[in-house]
């Protein structure tokens, strides 16, 4: 959704935890790593891009209940942080990166709410920096689901590296399993597999898959295929990006 819009619909996902209702502010920053190259006689200090950087800051409320903020984040884990800044509608923007959590804490005052405060997430591992993409899925499902197609912003195929992040944030499935795929198509009717995840819904988790540069057809969608018949609910989110 282009234009100036409210931030209130943001979705915050951390390692398979859907923590939107505990987050009050976020900031995701892709940096150029600027370095000064000024020499004698130059008109002013001047710069060139250096090693790109990425950082995410999120403000959280405290909650010490099982599967909530305190128990999930006090160990300062590594994993993936994904923000759906405009909300969870398929095709809306997503930002994600593999992260290490660099701090944790708690704070409060006599007139306020216990807060964790601002948690800072730094880039972890060899990656491309902030992965700006689109939402392909954000839903609770009980059976096989075929997601809606999302067209590339260029209106055509691209040749690029790509990747996707799957967050499984609902209650782990006691019986059924799922296979999650990102598929692509040149015409919106004949589809081929682009990315296949290994996570199947039996545990809360996050999984990131990357694909080397190649042809990515213009339409992309998610296919979540159930094995079993129990029909227990599973919450999941898939974000997709290409360079």
């Amino acid at each position: 959704m282009p234009g100036k819009i409210a931030a209130k619909n943001a979705v915050v996902l951390l390692n398979g935890y859907l923590f939107s209702t505990y987050a009050t502010a976020y900031e995701m920053i892709a940096g150029s790593g600027a370095k000064s190259v000024a020499g004698f006689g130059d008109g002013s200090d001047n710069f060139v891009p250096g090693l790109p950087t990425v950082e995410g800051d999120v403000d959280f409320f405290w909650d010490s209940a099982p599967d909530k903020v305190h128990l999930a984040l006090k160990s300062m884990p590594t994993g993936n942080l994904t923000i759906l800044s405009e909300g969870s509608t398929i095709g809306y923007p997503s930002s994600s990166f593999p992260m290490m959590q660099s701090n944790y804490g708690a704070k409060g005052n006599i007139a306020g709410i216990i807060e964790v405060g601002t948690l800072k997430f730094l880039s972890y591992g060899n990656n491309v920096g902030l992965e700006n993409g689109v939402v392909l899925a954000h839903a609770t499902i009980t059976a096989t689901q075929t997601g809606s197609a999302v067209d590339d912003p260029t209106g055509g195929a691209v040749t690029a590296a790509c990747g996707a992040v799957l967050h499984l944030w609902g209650t782990p499935l006691p019986a059924d399993t799922y296979q999650f795929k990102v598929q692509h198509s040149a015409n919106g009717s004949t589809w081929a597999d682009l990315i296949t995840f290994t996570a199947n819904g039996s545990t809360r988790t996050v999984e990131r898959q990357i694909v080397a540069s190649g042809t990515i057809n213009r339409y992309r969608r998610v296919l979540a295929t159930r094995t079993g018949s129990a029909g227990d609910p599973l919450g999941y989110t898939v974000s997709f990006y290409h360079l």
């Binding site: 409210a6 600027a34 020499g39 001047n46």
Partner: protein
Amino acid sequence: MAGKISAKNAVINIDDSGGTPRNVSAAIHTYEIVEDANAKSIAGFGEGSDNFTPTLPVKSIKFECYNDTTATTGLTTVLRGILGSSTGKTVSVTPEVGGQTFSGEFMLKDLGTKGAVDGVIELSTIEFLVMGATAPAWA
């Protein structure tokens, strides 16, 4: 127009990745043109007070912006296209109608998106740093 006037009519243009100037004024609500003489103290013993001399100037432009992902012309789209570019991009700010323009060749320092539960989606402070040996100037 000399004298004290509203800032509301500023015009801001930023080159996109192809070098096409894009008028992104509507997505920006605050600008700051920074020209710093980079003063260094040269006070020595016995002098009456701390005193300074200008050194290599430091110039930059900062913006506070809304997020706008409109294809091709939206501010966020333009900035994403130029982040990390190894070639300078022309950025110009004209504070008042018919007045002087501050412009030069710049690089984008970083690009952040932020939101608060009671606010609108914004970009983190956007800062353009000088690229190349020629300093930006008013004209």
